[in-house]
């Protein structure tokens, strides 16, 4: 590798940093002021590319037309942001953080299907920028003129934002609102418009980032989740709410990526190690390292305690008689299902999916609710359980029963390792680190062809003969799921579960009465990971095939949606949420091409109607009745 090549890669890195910065800075700005973690930020970025594509196709022939299209696309996306803020977000600023997340995730689903309906499923590459189509020669190598322009645009936007934040009244108000928005309102500032303006500006920047990316990358429907992943990483590495931090993080990540490409494949001790393959996970590795070293990101500052944390949780009580009877009744129905359901063989198949989802969601709830640790990467343990079972069976030729029993241990080991890092953090940072680990696990499963089968995954994972009948496998799944859920509940009512909640309610007090909060959270992480691994192993043998998508971020998000749908404050919440979500997804997906959008609308309605989750709202309704009676 020559110095010239390194220098050109360095310039590539700078161009990449500008793109990343523009993608992420709006997210940081919006979070800083509104405290909303906007999952739909990547969708605004995606819409920026699509809109710019359509505009440049019509008027992009001239220099003025091209740059006009870029600006117009950014403005259009910003306007869309303003509309979304006014219609939706205004109603949920006081809702618990996780519900806001759920609502913005619904927007992701809706935006994805809207783009599908308007622009279709094919990749669309926009025209190159007039006047910047060529390349310049740098040290004897060709470097695209457009990328050179990008290198300057990023810092220019940073400078403009910096000037606005420190030199204008609007900027001072934004910084004040970042700390205490209610107080800003009480001092005579119309914070509703301030929020709208900030959200509009943030989405405009995302749109600008997308529009500028048009000539370099085809518009496609996967950009939303990819974009939000990258944006989160940059924002978290830089420190939530810090704009210079976002720039610094974008620079570091982009340069390390460029360096990996420059190094390429190296031979070490007779092995070929491909650094360019690392680019898939390099940002997550950087994030993991940064968060372990600086838990608030590079330039992050501890934020004031949120003034609208979730509603106070009622003390946990063991189930009363009515609840127990109801539980037994449900269990009897479930036991009878294969007998009654012979006419509908599909019911048993769907029920297995639901039971697996229930166990998955219950294990996530265990750390999320009582543990107070919001994991965005719970699919990692599901996937480890599935791959653990699959590998034991295929690579070590174990019988299916042994593979099912031992597979979850891989998930336990993963949770033991990742948990040790994750529980050092809290809030969004913890969520992001769990996501990072899940992405790392995913990329290993995706790339380690020789062992995991790469993108093809592992096939031929069929249950042992006595479990071959769907009904038999159903009973096995039922037994493990019910056993697993009851075990988690028991633990929550035991001193261990109380200690876990103590650490969440008041770490200060917990520490002051001798509780080692770290240990309890860590062990809870491992317990949840193991149970989740059981769900993964069950899943593997119910499908017969596993592929890296069992670890995909989409599955982690599904888990979050299930828990939040059901209600995070009740034990029954994840069970109800998982059943409802799986059934809904199955029912809608078969009937309707735009099922994602339908699901998104359903989630939005649920968020507005049931702010405590379904089970939580029902419980509150019952209690009201009691009080009234």
């Amino acid at each position: 590798m020559s110095v010239d090549a390194l220098l050109v890669q360095f310039l590539n890195g700078l161009a990449g940093a500008s793109t990343l910065f523009l993608l992420a800075v709006g997210l940081s700005l919006i979070f800083g002021v509104t405290r909303i973690v906007n999952f739909a930020h990547g969708s605004f970025y995606m819409l920026g590319i699509y809109i710019a594509y359509s505009l440049t196709a019509r008027i992009g022939g001239s220099v003025l037309g091209f740059w006009g299209s870029v600006v117009l696309a950014a403005l259009a996306v910003g306007l869309l942001g303003v509309i979304v803020e006014c219609l939706l977000l205004r109603r949920i600023y006081r809702a618990p953080e996780l519900f806001q997340l759920l609502a913005t995730f619904a927007l992701v689903l809706i935006a994805r299907d809207a783009a599908l309906a308007i622009w279709g499923p094919e990749d669309l590459l926009g025209p190159r920028a007039p006047g910047l189509k060529g390349a310049v020669e740098i040290l004897g190598r060709q470097f695209p003129q457009y990328d050179l322009a990008l290198i300057f645009i990023g810092p220019a936007v940073l400078g403009a934002l910096w000037w606005m934040l420190t030199r204008t009244r609007f900027g001072v108000l934004i910084r004040a609102a970042t700390e205490d928005r209610e107080m800003v309102g009480a001092l005579g500032v119309n914070q509703a418009w301030l929020f709208t303006a900030v959200f509009g500006l943030g989405t405009l920047l995302a749109g600008l980032g997308g529009a500028l990316q048009g000539p370099r990358e085809p518009a496609n429907l996967g950009l939303d989740l990819m974009g939000i992943g990258d944006a989160f990483v940059v924002v978290v590495v830089g420190g939530m709410g810090s704009i210079p931090g976002a720039f610094l993080a974008a620079l570091i990540i982009a340069e390390i990526k460029a360096l990996c490409i420059a190094i390429g494949t190296v031979h070490v001790f007779g092995f070929d190690f491909s650094f360019s393959k690392l680019t898939l996970v390099v940002e997550f590795l950087v994030m993991a390292v940064v968060l372990i070293w600086k838990p608030l990101g590079l330039l992050g500052k501890p934020s004031a305690a949120s003034r609208n944390s979730s509603a106070v949780e009622a003390p946990l009580a063991p189930p009363d008689k009515a609840a127990k009877i109801f539980g037994y009744a449900v269990l009897v129905l479930l036991l009878l299902l294969p007998v009654v359901g012979q006419m509908f063989p599909y019911a048993v198949v769907l029920m297995i999916d639901i039971l697996v989802a229930v166990l998955f969601a219950a294990s996530l709830h265990f750390i999320m609710g009582p543990g107070g640790m919001h994991s965005f990467g719970h699919a990692a343990y599901f996937g480890l359980g599935a791959y653990g079972a699959g590998l034991l069976m295929k690579q070590f030729s174990m019988p299916m029963e042994a593979a099912l029993g031992l597979g979850p241990l891989l998930a336990a080991a993963g949770a033991l390792l990742f948990g040790w890092f994750c529980v050092r953090l809290s809030g969004v940072y913890l969520a992001m680190l769990t996501l990072a680990f899940a992405q790392i696990v995913w990329s290993i499963a995706f790339q380690w062809d020789e062992v995991t089968g790469g993108s093809n995954g592992i096939i031929g994972l069929w249950p042992a003969e006595w479990l071959n009948q769907k009904a038999a496998y159903y009973y096995l799944t039922l037994a493990l799921t019910v056993g697993g859920v009851l075990f988690l509940w028991r633990v929550l009512l035991a001193p261990f579960g109380y200690a876990l909640r103590a650490g969440r309610d008041s770490p200060l007090r917990a520490d002051a009465i001798g509780i080692n909060v770290f240990n309890y959270q860590w062990m809870a992480f491992v317990l949840a990971g193991t149970v989740c691994g059981v769900a993964g192993s069950l899943f593997a043998f119910s499908k017969g095939t596993i592929a890296p998508d069992v670890i995909h971020v989409g599955r982690s998000i599904d888990g979050l949606v299930m828990v939040l749908l059901g209600g995070v404050q009740t034990l029954a919440g994840p069970v109800v949420g998982a059943a409802l979500f799986t059934w809904l997804q199955d029912a809608v997906a078969r009937e309707f091409q735009y099922w994602r959008a339908a699901l998104g609308v359903a989630i939005l309605l649920l968020v507005m109607v049931f702010p405590l989750g379904v089970a939580g709202s029902v419980k509150r309704l019952l209690r009201r009745r009691e009080v009234a009676a």
Partner: protein
């Protein structure tokens, strides 16, 4: 100037205020006394709109404000100084004041940096100091100064003497009397009867969300029974 009539307020299901009525006239310092949890802060918050009263009327300079957003109420010239200070720690003193700045208002004193610096000489010496690097007493002054920048006709002061050193309490008393002399009306909430006696003209006592006593400060000081019963002095 400011009038509350039969205000009821709830937090969730809890009935915090019941039938609260009180009045503040122009140029007057009125104190709302009561122990912790009696409803003082909630009364203040229902005036400025941070808590929406379920029933009742709040009138400020002739305008009904009980359903208005806090920022609209603040723009009518009603200033609010919260109990927990809530200054912006990342912003400098000048920037904190900038957030509170509003256009001059007819008939009430107009405030600018020079005037603030004269009222609170400590602040005058540290225009570029970030709020987070100030002492508790200085922060207490800044939170009042920030509200003054809105040129209020009336100020709600929520427990200015709570949790600060006695020597700062003296300075607070002096500042309140100075504001009064400039014609700013003040509604003060307090637990500290001595402090109230030093600055207030009239007093209300609130207990379990209801007004139990109303009278001049002199009447209250003579009424040992009311003091005993409601203030647990």
């Amino acid at each position: 100037m400011l009038k509350l009539k039969d205000i009821h307020a709830y937090y969730g299901q809890a009935h915090i205020l019941a039938d609260v009525s009180l009045e503040v006239n122009a140029g007057e310092v009125v104190v709302l006394l009561g122990r912790n949890g009696a409803g003082k802060s909630t009364t203040m918050k229902s005036i400025i709109g941070l808590v929406k009263p379920a029933k009742g009327e709040v009138t400020f300079q002739g305008a009904r404000i009980e359903q208005m957003a806090p920022y609209k109420i603040a723009r009518l010239g009603l200033g609010y100084v919260p109990e927990e200070r809530r200054i912006f720690t990342e912003l400098t003193v000048l920037e904190n004041l900038e957030v509170g700045r509003q256009a001059p208002r007819a008939g009430v004193p107009t405030w600018d940096w020079d005037k603030i610096a004269r009222l609170f000489p400590n602040l005058g010496e540290m225009p570029q100091r970030p709020g987070g690097r100030m002492s508790g007493g200085e922060q207490q002054m800044l939170t009042i100064a920030r509200t003054l920048m809105g040129n209020p006709a009336c100020i709600l002061l929520d427990e200015p003497s709570e949790g600060v050193a006695p020597v700062i309490v003296d300075q607070m008393a002096a500042a309140i009397l100075e504001l009064k002399s400039q014609g700013v009306a003040i509604l003060l909430s307090e637990q500290n009867l001595h402090f109230a006696a030093e600055v207030a003209d009239r007093a209300y006592i609130i207990e379990k969300g209801r007004i139990r006593f109303s009278g001049t400060m002199a009447e209250l000081e003579a009424d040992a029974e009311a003091q005993q019963q409601y203030l647990a002095v």
